[in-house]
């Protein structure tokens, strides 16, 4: 939400300073991020021995540098090659105008997303499910249902359909427009079967372009825009284009809220580990105005490994979340993005690390679970979402120091395997299709890892949530 209107944003995409994408990536972003890190004395503050920040002053310094970065750079519109710039005052007003709590869900599935601070013990909201995993048409309902059935999960992040009535679902085509509504219909059926009639979902999730949103949200029989996670995901670093702004325009026409996202890449155009934390903070600030967002998810990924369960991504996300939650009331979230697949111990340990740093660092919500990094069709089950939800919700009051020590014990269990992680098993190989329950093997792995984590001090007591 912002005092700068969406029309102002569109005007700025036509009148802002001219900049080619390559110059933006190499000169504007990389150079400005490096300058800010130097100016604020933040270069090289990460050390591998400390995979989760617990220094609030350091997080506040990152906040100041990240805000400065947002003011200095703005965001690039790649369609027009012009920069959408803001004054400091506009960005501050944008943050002030943004909501500090939001009610989602209907009836017994209603919940409130609230502003949090690190280790505050307040409820974190869990938006989980087969997060964009490509799924066969006939498995779409059971895979979504397998996650939605767990009441620890507040909102469903659904799968991506691979086809529509047997036809390949090609992005940017009328297939995608048609699939928008079709996919929402399947999601509704999954929620009905799971008896989660009022659970919000991410209708239009399949959509890489605006067409899936046009077809799936706010038209008769499609997703109710007021109980849907209306996503506009921007590419890194700090870029947007008309396809994304089309989505924003559509959601505004539907008179609903916008859920914007941005991944910062360690090793990418933001540069260093500390640099990715800065662009993540700047993204949360800018998305509030550029995408008129009420919620933002601004995780960081390792550009080489494409995961957020590594040592440096844990630290980067923790400091970015703490910077934002200590200095704003924005409703900001992270993700759970393991690279190992279902039915492996590694996947659960990766999830434990991501869920812990998301939970104790002040995020208002967490998305997930992008099982096996989203690489393999049908490699997703509800059990990993339940597991993530349990850790997220049971450990919000844990001190950052304790979480760091636990994470330090878990990381060596899988770090060496992040580059070539185990693929694990597909849904039908480790979930019973009739009863929609995990296989004995998958449950045994869950029990073993849970037991190990409980011995380390991770709570699985979800009763208060």
């Amino acid at each position: 939400m912002s005092k700068v209107t969406f029309l102002d944003i569109l005007d700025r995409t036509n009148k802002g300073p001219v900049c080619e994408t390559k110059d933006w990536d190499l000169k504007v972003i990389f150079k400005t991020v490096s300058e800010k890190l130097r100016e604020y004395g933040l270069e090289g503050v990460y050390t591998p021995e400390n995979p989760l920040n617990s220094d609030s002053n350091l997080a506040n310094k990152f906040w100041k540098a990240g805000f400065d970065l947002a003011v200095d750079t703005g965001m690039l519109c790649q369609t027009t090659n012009r920069i959408i710039k803001f004054t400091e005052r506009e960005l501050r007003e944008g943050i002030e105008e943004a909501p500090s709590k939001m009610q989602l869900g209907i009836g017994k599935d209603e919940f409130t997303v609230v502003t949090r601070t690190p280790s505050d013990g307040k409820r974190i909201s869990t938006w989980l499910g087969p997060f964009g995993i490509l799924v066969d048409e006939d498995l779409y309902i059971p895979i979504c249902q397998s996650a939605a059935a767990y009441t620890i999960i507040d909102a469903l992040i659904p799968a991506n359909l691979s086809s529509i009535y047997g036809r390949d679902l090609r992005g940017g085509t009328p297939y995608e427009t048609l699939a928008g509504k079709y996919e929402v219909t399947l999601q509704k059926e999954a929620l009905r079967r799971a008896r989660r009639y009022g659970m919000p979902a991410q209708g239009g999730c399949t959509s890489p372009t605006e067409y899936g949103n046009f077809g799936g949200v706010g038209i008769p029989g499609a997703a109710d825009p007021k109980n849907n996670l209306n996503v506009a995901l921007c590419p890194s670093e700090l870029k947007v284009d008309y396809r994304i702004l089309h989505k924003v325009a559509h959601f505004l026409n539907c008179e609903t809220f916008i859920y914007a996202g941005h991944f910062s890449m360690i090793g990418g155009f933001a540069g260093s580990i500390e640099g990715a934390a800065l662009t993540s903070i700047a993204a949360a600030i800018l998305l509030t105005s550029v995408c008129q967002a009420s919620f933002q998810y601004v995780p960081t990924l390792n550009a080489l490994l494409q995961c957020n369960s590594s040592r440096e991504t844990a630290w980067t996300t923790s400091i970015s979340a703490q910077a934002l939650s200590q200095n704003t009331h924005l409703l900001v979230g992270g993700v759970v993005n393991p690279v190992a697949g279902p039915c492996t111990e590694m996947m659960l340990y990766e999830i434990a690390v991501s869920a812990l740093f998301n939970s104790v660092s002040g995020f208002s919500f967490s998305e997930g679970v992008r099982s096996a990094g989203g690489k393999y069709p049908n490699y997703s089950t509800g059990l990993e979402s339940k597991f993530a939800g349990e850790i997220l919700k049971s450990n919000t009051g844990m001190s950052r120091d304790k979480a760091r020590e636990i994470i330090k014990t878990i990381l060596p269990k899988y770090e060496q395997k992040l580059e070539r992680p185990p693929k694990g098993k597909s849904f039908i190989e480790c979930f019973d299709l009739k009863s929609l329950t995990p296989s004995r093997e998958w449950l045994d792995i869950y029990d073993k890892v849970r037991n190990d984590l409980e011995n380390l001090g991770v709570s699985f007591n979800t009763e208060s949530n």
């Binding site: 190499l26 990389f30 090609r170 992005g171 940017g172 399949t206 090793g267 155009f269 440096e312």
Partner: protein, 229 residues
């Protein structure tokens, strides 16, 4: 300046990502009659390999790698002007048309592969992101490409990789290009299913596969794709 010093200057210019210094060092190499292939292999490529190693340890980052690649390209183009056609072919691995497929605007993986391929001596035609199938095909025809490389992060866009291959097959021109694919939702089974010639999980894997295409020159389409996952 001695040959050793010139080679060192070429390597340093690449490590620093300094195009101007790379141009100067290349001009010096030409003036001092340094064998241009030696200048490339023992000067520029050495610098690039230092940058590659540093990138894997996150001691430098993608922008450094891209700037170093630009510096190297600049120097190579100067050195090539003084080479015979035969000698040019000694250092050119092949022509690659690369892009992120239609509907998808993510480009980090694609940029990385394009950069690493260019420093390995491939001639790169980078079409950017959100690239329609036709644009890949037109460019590949125009430049007489050896390889078409398609990246994809959003799963609904992965079908365009299949579309391109099927179009070539239906037109009877599938044997003209090696096709390599990669990206977040892309995996070995998909590469086999759509009859691609190669799939790499990481950019480095992609480079190895492209080098194998050009070194071994297997008939395309390959019966089984080269997989590095």
């Amino acid at each position: 300046m001695s040959e050793t010093k010139i080679l060192d200057a070429l390597a340093k210019a690449v490590i620093d990502g300094n195009e101007e210094a790379a141009r100067k060092a290349a001009a010096e190499a030409i003036n001092e009659n340094v064998d241009p292939i030696k200048a490339i292999k023992e000067g520029l490529a050495k610098g690039m390999s230092v940058i590659g190693e540093k990138f894997h340890k996150f001691e430098v980052f993608l922008p450094h790698v891209m700037l170093s690649a630009d510096a190297m390209k600049e120097a190579v183009s100067l050195l090539k002007k003084n080479m015979s056609v035969e000698r040019k072919t000694e250092i050119t691995h092949g022509k690659v048309v690369i892009g992120t497929v239609f509907g998808d605007i993510h480009d980090i993986g694609k940029n990385l592969l394009a950069t690493l391929l260019s420093v390995e001596g491939f001639e790169i035609y980078d079409l950017g992101s959100d690239v329609p199938v036709k644009m890949f095909l037109n460019k590949a025809k125009d430049v007489e490409a050896d390889i078409i490389a398609m990246s994809c992060l959003m799963s609904p866009s992965m079908f365009y990789q299949k579309d391109l291959i099927e179009y070539l097959r239906d037109k009877g021109t599938r044997n003209k290009y090696y096709i390599i694919i990669g990206g977040g939702p892309i995996h070995a089974e998909w590469a086999k299913k759509i009859c691609a010639d190669g799939y790499g999980r990481y950019a480095d894997d992609g480079v190895d596969i492209c080098k194998r295409f050009m070194d071994e020159k297997p008939a395309t389409p390959l019966k089984e794709p080269i997989i590095k996952s």
